[in-house]
Structure formats: structure tokens, C-alpha cells
């Protein structure tokens, strides 16, 4: 599903590579944690998958496509197959829960009937039934992140990328979010989650990829966060 072949990324005006000769592959339906200190290259890794950045060297395949050969006008179609969740939720403050989730489908031109059918399903899936018309500021952090997850998943992407989705949420609420992500993973969606949250990684017992200074220092199935942090 995601295949990195000897990928490097050097940002201009920087000496050190953000990623250096990274090779790995994440299969369809896998759940992988991306761990490592700040600046270790986790975000660059996620941005490369979205083709928000271009690698300085190496090849990247996502959903069977060679990103180097993907023309710019086809990038939106790639992104429709990838859902994204961020630490800061990125909800639209002037739209309610339903509208926030529906927005993701409206802007890719889905018919209204389809939107009316699937949006409530996904909102229920993330556990926000009955809160369709709440505005983001009326929700707790955990609930806002659930809306963001619903928005990322509403188009049934093949891959879900999560960049520290529990970074702004207390541990108890984080468990709820992780349950939602796990549920999404069980539908066959590949989930890649960058995190600093050791407790979550240890409790989930999923694949753990550890980056340090842009290199993979550990790639472990059913791993734990590690002792050094």
C-alpha cells in the first residue's frame, strides 16, 4: 500500500537530511506507529505520502502509484484515497459537526443524496450520534478530534494518516480516539499514526517504526514505544 524505496529528503537551506535512505513498506490493512523525537522525520514521512513534498532521492509508491510519475493535476485524486487527521483538528469553526464532515464530500463533487446517506453513518461510527448540529466550540477536544476522524474517513480512503492525533487530548479521551482508529483499521483501511504517546503505543501492540535523525532505527511488529524516551 505504501512503499518507500531508498527515499531521502533534504530541505533547501538545510544541511542535514530530514529523511535519509528510508526503505520500508506498509501493507494493506496494516496499523503502523511512527515514533521518534521531534525533528526525526515523522512529519516529512507523512507529507511525502501525500505528495505535499517531493523526495530528493528514491521512489515512493502509494496505492499502487509511482508518485514521481503522478502528474500534478492527478494529485487530488491520490489525496481522495488518503484521509488525514492532525493534532490541531483543523475543523471549520463556522460549520457544525454534520457540515464539517459533509464539506469533505461536497468539495470533491459528490452528489447530495450520497452525502446525506453516508455522513450520519460515519458520525455514528466515531461515536458522536445525536451531536450533528453542534458547533466545534461546543465540543470537547476529544469530540472535535472524532469529528476530524469522521471527516478523514467519510470518503472511505484506503489509507488514514494521523499526525499525533492524541497530542492535544488527555490520556483517558485518547483511548476513545484509539478505539475509533482501531475500528477504522478493522474495515481494511491502512492506518499510519505518528505519535509521542508511549502509553498508547504500548497498549495497542501494533507495528512500530522508529525514526531518529531521518533514519529508521527500529521496525518491529507488535512493538512497544521503547525505553529511551
Amino acid at each position: 500500500m505504501i512503499n518507500f524505496d531508498n527515499v531521502s529528503k533534504v530541505y533547501s537551506h538545510q544541511n542535514r537530511a530530514a529523511l535519509e535512505n528510508v526503505s520500508l513498506s506498509i501493507d494493506k490493512g496494516e496499523f503502523a506507529f511512527l515514533v521518534g523525537p521531534s525533528g526525526s522525520g515523522k512529519s516529512t514521512f507523512l507529507r511525502l505520502i501525500l505528495k505535499e513534498e517531493r523526495p530528493s532521492g528514491g521512489r515512493i509508491h502509494v496505492a499502487g502509484r509511482d508518485l514521481a510519475r503522478l502528474s500534478n493535476w492527478k494529485v487530488p485524486h491520490l489525496r481522495r484515497r488518503i484521509g488525514c487527521v492532525f493534532q490541531d483538528f483543523r475543523l471549520l469553526p463556522n460549520k457544525n459537526v454534520y457540515q464539517n464532515v459533509a464539506f469533505a464530500l461536497e468539495v470533491i463533487g459528490k452528489p447530495r443524496r450520497f452525502i446525506r446517506r453516508v455522513v450520519p453513518e460515519v458520525i455514528d461510527l466515531v461515536g458522536l450520534e445525536g451531536k450533528y448540529d453542534r458547533m466545534p466550540h461546543e465540543l470537547s477536544g476529544g469530540e472535535q478530534q472524532r469529528v476530524a476522524v469522521a471527516r478523514a474517513f467519510v470518503n472511505r480512503p484506503m489509507i488514514l494518516l494521523a499526525d499525533e492525533p492524541t497530542g492535544n487530548i488527555d490520556p483517558a479521551t485518547s483511548i476513545g480516539i484509539m478505539k475509533v482508529l482501531d475500528r477504522i483499521n478493522r474495515t481494511g483501511t491502512t492506518v499510519v499514526m505518528a505519535t509521542h504517546d508511549a502509553a498508547i503505543v504500548d497498549s495497542m501492540r501494533k507495528r512500530v517504526i522508529e525514526l531518529e535523525y531521518g533514519k529508521i532505527v527500529r521496525d518491529q511488529f507488535r512493538g512497544i514505544y521503547g525505553q529511551s524516551y
Binding site: L50, N72, W73, V75, P76, H77, L78, R79, R80, R81, I82, G83, C84, R90, L92, F103, A104, E106, V107, I108, G109, R112, R151, A152, N155
Partner: protein
């Protein structure tokens, strides 16, 4: 593509920076109407020129009994008149020449100044010079040849080319046109900067929305179209205002000018429509292209 979604986005964008939008519309309206006015003046000069070109004549005024001109020694004799007629008619450049007697000149004079008794009272029939009205085949080229052939001939008082009189009028309109177009161009530059700024502000205001649109895979067209149309719609509203102003310019200013100079070459409705359509193209292209170029810079895809 869901049109109501795009329309909604445009409406939000236009409403959010209302002051900028209003400023943009006003500047576009004024610059387009000035540009259109310049074009109307241009058309007016052209129409008048073609109209007169076919009619322009050289007037050869003959001496009267009391002409102040030194080359005149009493009224032109019949022999002199016949000689002048012969000179003119033998020239290949002359299409036709007609003799206008004092009686006919006086009759025309009375007709022109029918409602100005003081003129009629001071000028007598004998003071009106008889003349040859000469029609040229190619006025622009042959004027000098014909004029010099008769200038100074016995019995000739003066030779007047009507085009020199008309040229003053053309110059006036031409100068007005140039002034108006220069101001229009300056305003168009201002309009371009305003469009760029409005779109930039709009893109900044909605960076959250566009960021999410990018993320969930909205096509570039879907992301950019509302901004592009926002600029174009503001331009169109400005154009509609400019059209009204242009209709006013034509019916008030140019038509009055025409009456003042007592000639009868008006601008047709087609001329006005042409100018208005041209103004629309300028407005739409100006706003559309500027929006597009600005978007390339400020809306990362």
C-alpha cells in the same frame, strides 16, 4: 461540479471583504467608463472625418467691390470669373466646381443666421463675396496643388480649405480623448492592484477552508474557481455600472457637443454597443487574469 456550492463560496468571499469589493467595483466602473469614453471620442472623430471627407471643399472667395485685400482691385470682373472657372475645370484633381453668386451666398447667409437679426442687419447683399465651391477628388493630396493654382490669381480674394477648420475640431476631440484614455489607463493599473489585493485577502481569509479542500482531494479547479469568479463577478458588476455611465456620456455629452458644433454626425447605437462590449471584455479579462495570476502566488496547490 456542484454549482450552488461554488456560488455560496463566492457570496461568502464577496461579503467577507465587503469594503474591498465595493472599492474594486467602483474603480473598475470608473476606469471602464473612462476607457469607453475615450473610445467613443475616437469613434466620433472618425465618423466626423469620414463624413466630411466626402464633402470637404475648397472655397475660392472672389473679390467684392470693397474687399480690404490688397490684391483686389474692385469686384471680380466677368472675364476674371470665367478665367478662374476655366483654370479650375481644366485641373485633373478637381471633381467639380460650382459658382456661387452674391445673391446665392446672401440667401445661404440669411438661412444660417435666420434667428440672429443683428447679423442680418449689418451685412448687406453686396458685402457677401461670390465664390467657387471646389470639390476635390482626393482632398488630402490635391489641396495644395489646386489652392496654389488659384491663389493670387486676379479677382481672387482668398482660398480657404474647410479641412483646416475641421482639424481644429478634431484636435479638440483628440486631445480630450488622449486625456481621458491616460486617466483610464492609470485607473486600470489601480484596478489591477485592487483585484490582486482583494483576491489575496480573500485567499487569506479562507486559507482554512482551502487547506482542508486540498487535503481531502478537491481538484484545483474546485479550489480556485470561487476566487476566480469572485474577481470576475466584481468586474462584471463594475462593467454594468460603467455601461450606464457610457450611455450617459453618449446621450448627454457627445450629443450636446454635436448640437453645439451644428453638424449632424451622431454616434449610432451600434457604436455605443461596440464600446460597451469591448469594455466588458477588458473588464472580465483584466479581473480574471489578475485573479488567476494572484491565485498562483497565494493559493498553494
Amino acid at each position: 461540479m456542484r454549482s450552488n456550492f461554488v456560488l455560496q463560496e463566492i457570496w461568502i468571499g464577496l461579503r467577507r471583504n465587503l469594503t474591498m469589493t465595493v472599492a474594486l467595483i467602483v474603480v473598475v466602473a470608473i476606469s471602464l467608463s473612462l476607457l469607453g469614453t475615450g473610445l467613443l471620442f475616437y469613434q466620433q472623430v472618425n465618423n466626423t472625418r469620414t463624413y466630411w471627407q466626402s464633402k470637404v471643399e475648397i472655397s475660392v472667395y472672389l473679390c467684392t467691390a470693397n474687399s480690404p485685400n490688397h490684391s483686389c482691385h474692385g469686384a471680380a470682373s466677368q472675364a476674371q470669373i470665367a478665367h478662374i472657372r476655366q483654370t479650375l475645370d481644366s485641373m485633373p484633381q478637381v471633381e467639380s466646381s460650382t459658382f456661387q453668386s452674391q445673391a446665392k451666398a446672401y440667401a445661404l447667409f440669411k438661412q444660417y443666421f435666420a434667428n440672429d437679426q443683428s447679423y442680418l442687419n449689418t451685412v448687406t447683399r453686396n458685402e457677401m463675396p461670390p465664390s467657387f465651391e471646389v470639390k476635390l477628388k482626393d482632398p488630402a493630396r490635391d489641396y495644395n496643388v489646386v489652392a496654389s493654382a488659384v491663389t493670387g490669381a486676379p479677382g481672387v480674394d482668398s482660398v480657404i480649405d474647410e479641412e483646416t477648420i475641421l482639424n481644429k475640431f478634431y484636435q479638440l476631440l483628440g486631445a480630450l480623448r488622449n486625456a481621458v484614455i491616460i486617466v483610464a489607463l492609470i485607473l486600470i493599473i489601480a484596478a489591477i492592484m485592487l483585484v490582486a489585493n482583494t483576491i489575496r485577502l480573500s485567499a487569506f481569509n479562507r486559507r482554512r477552508e482551502t487547506g482542508i479542500m486540498r487535503l481531502v482531494g478537491a481538484s484545483n479547479l474546485y479550489i480556485q474557481l470561487p476566487f476566480l469568479l469572485e474577481g470576475v463577478i466584481a468586474g462584471l458588476i463594475g462593467w454594468v455600472l460603467a455601461s450606464f455611465l457610457l450611455v450617459g456620456v453618449k446621450s448627454l455629452l457627445l450629443n450636446n457637443l454635436q448640437q453645439y458644433f451644428s453638424y449632424n454626425v451622431g454616434l449610432s447605437t451600434t457604436d455605443l454597443v461596440e464600446v460597451i462590449v469591448l469594455a466588458m471584455l477588458v473588464g472580465v479579462v483584466l479581473c480574471g487574469v489578475t485573479s488567476f495570476v494572484t491565485l498562483r502566488r497565494y493559493l498553494r496547490i
